[in-house]
Symmetry: C2
Subunit: 248 residues, 2 copies
Amino acid sequence: MPVGRRNIKITVEYDGASYFGWQRQPNHMTIQQRLEEAVEAVTQAHTTVHGSGRTDTGVHARGQVAHLHTESSIPPEKFPYALNAHLPHDIAVLSAEDVAADFHARFSALSKTYAYTILNQPIRSPTRERYATRVWPAVDVSLMQQAASCLVGEHDFAAFQSEGSRPGSTVRCVTRAELASDPPLIVFWIEANGFLYNMVRAIVGTLLLVGHGKVSPSRFRSVLESGARDQAGPTAPARGLCLMQVTY
Amino acid sequence: MPVGRRNIKITVEYDGASYFGWQRQPNHMTIQQRLEEAVEAVTQAHTTVHGSGRTDTGVHARGQVAHLHTESSIPPEKFPYALNAHLPHDIAVLSAEDVAADFHARFSALSKTYAYTILNQPIRSPTRERYATRVWPAVDVSLMQQAASCLVGEHDFAAFQSEGSRPGSTVRCVTRAELASDPPLIVFWIEANGFLYNMVRAIVGTLLLVGHGKVSPSRFRSVLESGARDQAGPTAPARGLCLMQVTY
């Protein structure tokens, strides 16, 4: 029995190692495609699943959010189980709820939080490197924290975007930029009202130069202020990055 | 230049998901076989790698220990890198050191520590279930801790062994049995001077019955005292189990 057009918000976790990122594309498997196939299997209707934003190839998520329109009458609390029955083991819908017709996973988002996990040891780790990037020699976490502090606030983050960004303003407001050390793991947490393309990974690549004493915290601030991508460090690998939360 | 017969102790980490456990066997790939192949590639000599004990199919390790005899003159600090170049991504030698001729990874061990990770949530988790066993409904961790406390000390653990144990005494001394809760994860830590076959997994399977209110902590103690395997709960899955440390 159709109940009219509903708008459903879903929260999604995935291991991104086997996917070419979030966004549907020809010839490569993506998270969005898998989710749309699952929604179609459950609702018998072709449906677009709108994410809060793209995640790149190999990036993970514990709290990606998306919305979709459906006429299915399935109760929201049963929707995750119904979808998960049609999803592979590396993607899961954690929760679902009915939301207002004007809710949009991307445009309604107030902030996103990413975590980037660094494994700081000389030898590779079979049980940790699926979700962490290993670096050596040892990094100075307090220097990295000094540098990261200057990210908080409203800034032009052009120095930390990669080619391929959407056109438009490169000003964003960062509300959290913290390192949590639990040796041999270091997690960089960053929350902002939006992120430029590859912004977290460019920041982490530059923070690692700080941690290795190659860039001082004050130089890091100059890089941010320069707005010039060639002043910043390399883009850190995708495997350490995880989209943790989107707030509305 | 041969330097005579050395005895080398190695510490090994592995993701056990793709292996039929530690011990070499025909027709199935094991951790021991992979390590012996790597040692042979490095030293040009067929060599037995003696582990501190078997781990079962699918069980992981962060601190398995083994020893091997070799006439290779490779310095111990270079041995991990040399071996890792010949090991797949899911096995790594973390460290190596020369030890006395009578050191034996199994017989010299004073204690072993295992961690068993439980993921306590209703929905599956793509990024956590590689190293955790998911259970639902919610468990009462304080009841589980009450029950686990009775494991500490010297006891006959016959109630918690599976068929296939080595013959001999079933008395072991447990020096630590603690639950650490960091929702939605719960980690059960247990250290003992030795473990019977499947002992940790049988204990965890029974502790989960306690956590779900099906077995009281005092009944758990009676199960231990009974010495009867059919009084205990099911054997918990391998994926949550990890050998963390062997002390000498």
